[in-house]
């Protein structure tokens, strides 16, 4: 094909390349690592290519099979999809780098095909424009995530993975039932077509309830978060990073997308936005307090995810008045959390590998012995706390601003309290990293690439704070929050 670089079908490459790579990695296990690393790089390139296309031509649409909706399936990308794809590509690249050193021969042969399927499924999910197609991608993401979470094979990990799988399957069925109701109520599974037809009928409210509950369970919003801490804490570190950074964001993205296009008018009328905000606030406080109480590092980081997910939902009651600013803040927060949380889990994995344990009280001068890793944890912590100049700061600031201008003091207070609690649990870890432990432990060397992968992500989370003028306009491509978004 003589097409110039920019005109390559990047959206399709993002889906098919990882899937093909997964099959190659499965067929030739000895080459799995090489295939995986090359694919991770190629996916970064493809996202850049897609972003370029979006900047040039606006919205991306591809009618698969040439049929187009409603008969066929379409692929779709706007600024919001692009941002999620960027998060996936960046985190995916760093985690791949990390995993290349983390997994040894036999484990590597198990890890790479599963991770590559997950990568392709995530990309397919972010590019989907069809609620049934989203169901299939959700199942792919869910099953791959469970198989990855069980990778260590310990009783704890297996129990956690089992609970994770059951929650996932229950949610998938509730989601599918919602899809069935929408199809029979309004005659399509294409989101754009549904958006023009949906009306406040009982069937629409039932679908809203089923789909929202299903996605809340998959996103682990308090009080449906019960499966997350054990699953994320007992997985191997690179998997924990993928689960916390990307997999929970995938279901959140679907919820956000469907809310923006279909459900906002219905949901706001029924007070569901207020309920989501309330649950979000409870998640921020509960998750942060639980994180503070943990004595194991990975559990602390997992509970921090429960809290940070809460922030994403604080936006729902605020969106009615100032939708573009609030939803941009949410997208920014999701991206910042993906980078920072992946960095934290990778750093925790380094500390675990180094000391053979992840007891926070026994971190034993980690700052001297693993300076890069401790720096990564601290920098990621800055973004999680929402301090300037990090990406987390931009997102939380925009959200706080919206809350204050709307006079929602309660929500503003929760955001500030959540930030203080986050500071408390981050400094708890850093404090122990500076103090020598009572008894000396033996230690194992940590490969440099594992330290650098964590630091790379943490730096990206900080750098994101300076990128707002560049990224916020990018997010506006196709006006995901504008014209047909959640307005009054």
């Amino acid at each position: 094909m003589a097409a110039p670089f920019i005109d390559l079908p990047w959206g399709i490459i993002l889906i098919l390349l990882p899937l093909a790579a997964a099959m190659a990695a499965f067929l030739w296990p000895s080459m799995a690592k090489a295939v995986g690393l090359v694919t991770a790089v190629a996916v970064v390139v493809a996202v850049v290519g897609l972003g370029w296309q979006l900047l040039d031509h606006g919205l991306y649409r591809h009618a698969i099979g040439g049929w187009g909706a409603p008969l066929g399936i379409e692929l779709y990308a706007d600024g919001l999809s692009l941002l999620m794809l960027m998060a996936t590509a960046l985190v995916g690249f760093a985690v791949s780098l990390y995993a290349a050193a983390y997994f040894k021969a036999e484990d590597a042969a198990r890890f790479w095909p599963l991770w590559l399927v997950l990568l392709g499924a995530l990309n397919a999910l972010f590019l989907a424009a069809d609620i049934f197609n989203l169901y299939v991608t959700l199942e792919l993401v869910g099953l791959a995530a469970v198989a990855l979470a069980a990778l260590t094979g310990s009783a704890t990990a297996l129990g956690a993975a089992m609970r994770y799988l059951l929650a996932n399957l229950l949610a998938s069925l509730a989601y599918l039932l919602g899809v069935a109701l929408l199809y029979h109520g309004f005659g399509s599974v294409d989101i754009a077509i549904l958006a023009t037809r949906i009306a406040p009928a009982p069937v629409a409210f039932a679908a809203l309830g089923l789909i929202t509950t299903a996605l809340l369970l998959k996103t682990a919003l308090f009080p449906l978060h019960f499966w997350l801490p054990p699953a994320h804490a007992s997985a191997p570190a690179p998997v924990s990073a993928l689960l916390s950074a990307l997999v929970v964001k995938a279901s959140f993205y679907i919820l956000l997308r469907l809310w923006l296009e279909l459900f906002a008018p219905l949901g706001a009328g029924a007070g569901i936005d207020a309920l989501l905000g309330l649950l979000g606030a409870a998640a921020v406080l509960w998750g942060s307090v639980q994180a503070l109480r943990q004595s194991r590092l990975k559990l602390l980081v997992a509970y921090s995810t429960v809290a940070q997910i809460g922030y994403l939902f604080l936006a729902f009651p605020l969106a009615l008045a100032s939708s573009v600013a609030v939803w941009s803040a949410v997208a920014y927060l999701a991206l910042a959390h993906a980078l920072a949380k992946a960095a934290m889990f990778l750093a925790a994995g380094n500390l675990l590998r180094f000391g053979g344990h992840d007891r926070i009280a026994d971190l034993d001068r980690a700052v001297q012995r693993l300076p890069l890793t401790t720096a990564a944890f601290a920098l990621a912590g800055v973004s999680i706390m929402g301090l300037p100049p990090s990406g987390g700061f931009v997102g939380k600031w925009l959200l706080l601003e919206a809350a204050l201008t709307q006079g929602r003091w309660g929500l503003a207070l929760v955001m500030i309290l959540g930030g203080l609690l986050a500071a408390a649990y981050v400094f708890k870890v850093l404090g122990y990293a500076f103090t020598p432990a009572a008894v000396a432990h033996k230690s194992t060397a940590v490969p440099a690439s594992m330290e650098w992968a964590a630091l790379l992500l943490a730096l990206a989370a900080i750098l994101l704070g300076f990128m707002a003028p560049l990224l916020l306009p990018l997010l506006g491509i196709g006006e995901p929050f504008g014209a047909n978004g959640a307005g009054p």
Partner: protein, 102 residues
């Protein structure tokens, strides 16, 4: 009489029965059965409702979706059963670990 609505209601019933069993039973094999029954309920509703107008032309798109769903269901079941057996081998019980769910 139109067959669509009664079968759709049976689908609703199966979904609810499966949901109930998923919550009250501890044994993992039973939970897996419950999820499969829930799935059948969703499938039944999906196909049955397509026939409620009773026009000559039945809408086959839901049928194709259900075939996709059946394949997804057996894939998930196979993975769940293996996970259950592995868990039983490691912990001696085919139940979820108690643990605090906070």
């Amino acid at each position: 009489m139109n067959t669509a609505v009664p079968y759709a209601l049976v689908g609703v019933g199966l979904f609810a029965l499966g949901f109930y069993a998923l919550i009250v039973h501890a044994h993992l094999l039973r939970k897996i059965l419950a999820l499969n029954v829930m799935g059948s309920g969703v499938f039944l509703l999906l196909v049955a409702l397509a026939r409620r107008s009773g026009v000559a032309l039945p809408d086959v798109v839901p049928q194709a979706m259900v075939i996709t769903g059946i394949v997804v269901a057996i894939s998930a079941t196979a993975l769940a059963l293996t996970l259950m057996l592995r868990l039983a081998a490691a912990s001696g019980r085919a139940e979820l670990p108690d643990g605090r769910e906070d």
